[in-house]
Symmetry: C2
Subunit: 196 residues, 2 copies
């Protein structure tokens, strides 16, 4: 997704909610235009096509956690702190992009050729940030060495949560993130502490 620039960003957000609610193929350009208060011509001034919109929606939140993840990886040297902050960033972005994730996971098969590959690659890039953080912990003797499957499993814990997370529920995204990072750290730490 391009950096936020007003109307195009608003269109993506509104489109994500519409696509999540009705399905990508069920929403026509006319309905989308009505929802954002623009005629067909004005709408096409901001977006190239519905397919472009699907791509932007499906890739935007992943690009965001990648950017944040890279900053976090450079900002914290200590492996546990890195995992804690990656977890906070991951869950916050999920909380803030539930419709986008619904659209991405439900409609990604509708993305054609290269675009499908790019979105898959973005997911791999983000996974790599966690892989590197865990590998650093292993090198420092803090974490056990784990397989790629274990890391994919832990990422799945986060990624699946868009299906049940409720931003208006009783828990904040920080509380969910800390519950998840506690699981990750207990699963990884070599010398786990005894706690009740």
């Amino acid at each position: 997704m391009q950096p936020a620039h007003g109307k195009a960003d608003e269109i993506r957000t509104i489109a994500a909610v519409l696509f999540a609610k009705k399905g990508f193929s069920a929403v026509g350009v006319a309905e989308l235009g009505d929802a954002v208060g623009l005629g067909r011509g004005a709408l096409y001034h901001h977006i190239k096509s519905k397919d472009d919109l699907l791509y932007d929606i499906s890739s935007g939140y992943v690009q965001l956690i990648i950017d944040e993840g890279r900053r976090i990886s450079q900002s914290y040297a200590e492996p546990e702190a890195k995992i804690h902050h990656l977890s906070r960033s991951f869950v916050r972005v999920i909380f803030e992009h539930l419709p986008e994730m619904t659209v991405c996971f439900r409609e990604i098969h509708a993305l054609t050729g290269k675009r499908h590959e790019i979105v898959s690659q973005l997911h791999s890039d983000y996974e790599e940030i966690w892989e590197n953080a865990i590998a650093e912990g292993t090198e420092k003797g803090v974490f056990r060495s784990v397989s790629k499957i274990a890391i994919k499993g832990l990422m799945g814990m986060y990624l699946h949560s868009f299906l049940w997370l409720k931003p208006d529920g009783p828990l904040t995204h920080e509380e969910v993130a800390d519950t998840f990072s506690e699981i990750v750290l207990k699963a990884l730490k070599i010398s786990a502490q005894v706690s009740a």
Copy 2:
């Protein structure tokens, strides 16, 4: 899903593959009939409607892990053994139902009213089997007490895996299951063992 009874079961399996590949709404009754080698009349002898088929596909694998989960819960008293066998059953059923899970998670919004509720309830019923197994471990002083969110997170690790598991890949379902149950047990056990 009803117990296996030949042709109806075969139709569900073939339909799940077709729906996963092309999308539920894109597959017509004629195409489905061709795929299973039946004319419209003969097809409708085995299934009531495409909607019924979607419901059967979306609920069948969940009913299966519920049935297996209840048997496992009764068969093993030791909390760690229970988690290990629940994990084995869960991943094996996922391995064997990738198209069904693709259809369930992508098309569940197409299920109307009561059917949507029933499939959601089945997922809750299965979650409860894990909740009870973990609560027993907590009562026995083997596992720490964890929140419902932690359990939903751990279940998500399994449920998300249908998106990347490859039954023809290098790992068996037992190896994946044991990687996952190791994560669950390390996350839960009060006195975690030091291991490299």
